[in-house]
């Protein structure tokens, strides 16, 4: 048994290794292009700091909104007896497959100063494009599905016998949600929230259309690329890679703290671990 398993693992290792190489090479290559002192100077420009603040703040707001609205939706999809359930789930997946640019155009037509929702608000002097609101709207559109889908998968994987047992003991639906469903589903949801945050941080296409100003880090990088070429874009690209690595590390730590080693929405089915 053991002897025949080994070549399989070697072949799989090669397959996976080559793919990892394709992911790793561009990052290593970026470091070979490093001009550390020049990069530091570029990142200390006021524009870069402002973009970083804009990105950090908007993505944090977006993540809070996604969690507050997305987790209940995920629970509803997993446990509520919704009519046309598959349709709603499909709808949630839609923004994940629509290109950001297309999403941005759809959002602009709705929330722009002359859009279906933007126009009445405009009469009250409320603008939803070209400001933080526009950036958050774009980020929500592309990354909220990660939270909803991970919450849906997390709640659906909770053993319903546990919830039923609590119900027979007289717990209310809210108590069951708070004490059983949410804690059990949380590691998956937390991983989903982290993924959504990374996605929001890196959002470019929809943001460019909906809120060119104030620049987020990806839009700032594009402006630098257009106006200063590679020398302008590389330091910002480096910053984005560092931010992504930080996010992945935080996600790993979060999972470690909650007792799960992998920052993914799927838990190991090792016996004894779920109890």
């Amino acid at each position: 048994m053991k002897r025949s398993a080994k070549p399989t693992l070697i072949v799989f290792g090669l397959l996976g290794g080559l793919l990892l190489l394709e992911l790793l090479l561009p990052i290593v290559n970026l470091l070979f292009h490093a001009d550390w002192s020049g990069w530091m100077a570029a990142l200390l420009e006021p524009g870069a700091g402002k973009a970083l603040r804009t990105s950090a703040l908007t993505s944090a707001i977006a993540v809070v909104i996604m969690t507050l609205f997305g987790v209940p939706l995920g629970y509803l999809l997993a446990r509520g007896d919704l009519p046309f359930k598959r349709f709603w789930i499909g709808l949630v997946f839609l923004p994940m497959v629509v290109p950001g640019l297309a999403g941005g155009i759809l959002l602009l037509l709705t929330f722009g100063p002359n859009g279906a929702i933007g126009r009445p608000l405009d009469a009250w002097d409320i603008t939803l494009t070209n400001n933080f609101a526009g950036i958050v709207l774009a980020q929500l559109f592309v990354s909220a599905p990660f939270v909803v889908v991970s919450a849906y998968a997390g709640f659906a994987a909770v053993d319903s016998k546990l919830e039923m047992a609590a119900a027979t003991l007289g717990d209310s639906r809210w108590d069951i949600f708070r004490r059983i469903s949410l804690p059990l589903a949380w590691p998956g949801i937390a991983a989903g929230i982290t993924l959504a945050w990374i996605r929001a941080l890196g959002e470019f296409g929809a943001t460019l259309i909906l809120a060119y100003n104030p620049h987020t880090v990806p839009v700032y990088m594009w402006v630098k690329f257009e106006s200063n070429g590679l020398a302008g874009a590389l330091p910002v690209a480096f910053l984005l890679v560092v931010l992504a690595m930080a996010a992945v590390t935080i996600s790993m730590l979060l999972s470690r703290l909650t007792g799960y080693a992998e920052p993914v929405g799927v838990r190991e089915h090792a016996p004894g671990r779920l109890t």
Binding site: L14, L208, Y212, N213, V223, G229
Partner: protein
């Protein structure tokens, strides 16, 4: 036996990962029948719906175009991120500053002026201020009076990334002098006023979808997208080489330190050193230089094909199409 199996599967893996993309790129490489053209973004409709297909039909070559902002495109060639057969810029100075000279590796040694354009004020026909725009179009109301209307939204290009962006600044500066209204440029706010400044395609989308009432565009863009527009006098629209001296009275320094001086809007065409298919590139440039009627149909102005840089470096057949020297 096992070892052979292993090395075979290793080969298979390498094959799928590295050779398949290579094969795909080979299949894509009908090299000698294809011409790749990197061109100024505002020409997208003209190139993709007009001149590109017309060239393909007339010559039998496959036309492959890519639209980028002129500055961005030149930077991409400079940084070796693109290697087009032909480069069309919306500003002669983009060639001179980013691609020509030994400091830029002589990526471009010559260029020919291809066509001219002018700035216009395009508006959305369903804007609530449409009557005012129509009055300006008919000449009964001055255009800047329309732009002063409270609640009217108008946009313009970003002077950091787009020649049209700084040309709009020149337009307003010239207008201030022409109408003797020094406060006129204040309609724009700061050079990079976040409420007005957008990337080329985004601005067009905003005006077309009615999210913005109007925008400053090149005439050929507006003609291509069938938007109504108000023309400016040639003294200020940057479209008439006769006013070169007046245009040159204006200038703008980008935040990154680049200095640009006002000049007529001229598109230039060249074959950069990155060319892979010289024959096709030559055929394409010749086709462009002899397509005045088509260019005009798409809202561009016809100009004498003046040569910038060292025209002796150009292929003989193109050299013969040049009509004098280009003076900035």
């Amino acid at each position: 036996m096992k070892r052979i199996c292993l090395s075979m599967s290793f080969g298979a893996i390498l094959g799928t990962l590295y050779f398949v993309p290579m094969l795909l790129s080979c299949a894509n490489r009908t090299e000698n029948r294809k011409v790749s053209v990197l061109y100024a973004g505002s020409l997208a409709t003209v190139m993709e719906n007009g001149l590109g297909p017309a060239f393909a039909k007339a010559s039998g070559y496959e036309y492959q175009g890519e639209a980028q902002g002129s500055l961005g495109a030149a930077r991409m060639i400079h940084d070796r991120l693109r290697s087009p057969d032909v480069f069309i810029s919306a500003d002669p100075s983009v060639n001179e500053k980013i691609l020509m000279g030994s400091q830029n590796g002589e990526l471009v040694t010559w260029f020919l002026t291809l066509a001219s354009s002018q700035l216009v004020l395009a508006y959305n026909p369903s804007s609530k201020f449409v009557d005012k725009f129509k009055a300006a179009e008919a000449g009964t109301l001055l255009w800047y009076e329309v732009l002063k209307t409270p609640g009217l939204r108008f946009g313009r290009g970003d002077p950091r990334t787009d020649p049209k962006g700084y040309r709009t600044l020149f337009l307003f500066e010239l207008a201030g002098r022409f109408y003797q209204l020094p406060e006129l440029p204040r309609l724009l706010g700061a050079p990079i006023n976040p409420a007005q400044v957008f990337p080329e395609t985004v601005l067009l989308a905003r005006v077309q979808s009615g999210q913005f009432d109007a925008g400053i565009f090149y005439k050929h863009e507006v003609v291509a997208h069938k938007l109504p527009f108000v023309s400016f006098p040639p003294d200020i629209n940057l479209g008439d080489p006769k006013f070169s001296a007046a245009y040159a009275q204006t200038s703008y320094t980008t935040p990154s330190g680049g200095h640009v001086v006002g000049a007529p809007i001229l598109f230039t065409i060249t074959i950069p050193r990155t060319v892979k298919n010289k024959v096709a590139a030559e055929a394409f440039v010749r086709f462009m230089l002899t397509s005045n009627e088509l260019l005009k149909e798409f809202g561009l102005g016809n100009v004498e094909h003046r040569a910038g840089g060292d025209i002796t470096q150009a292929p003989a057949e193109l050299r013969s199409l040049s009509e004098g020297k280009y003076q900035p």
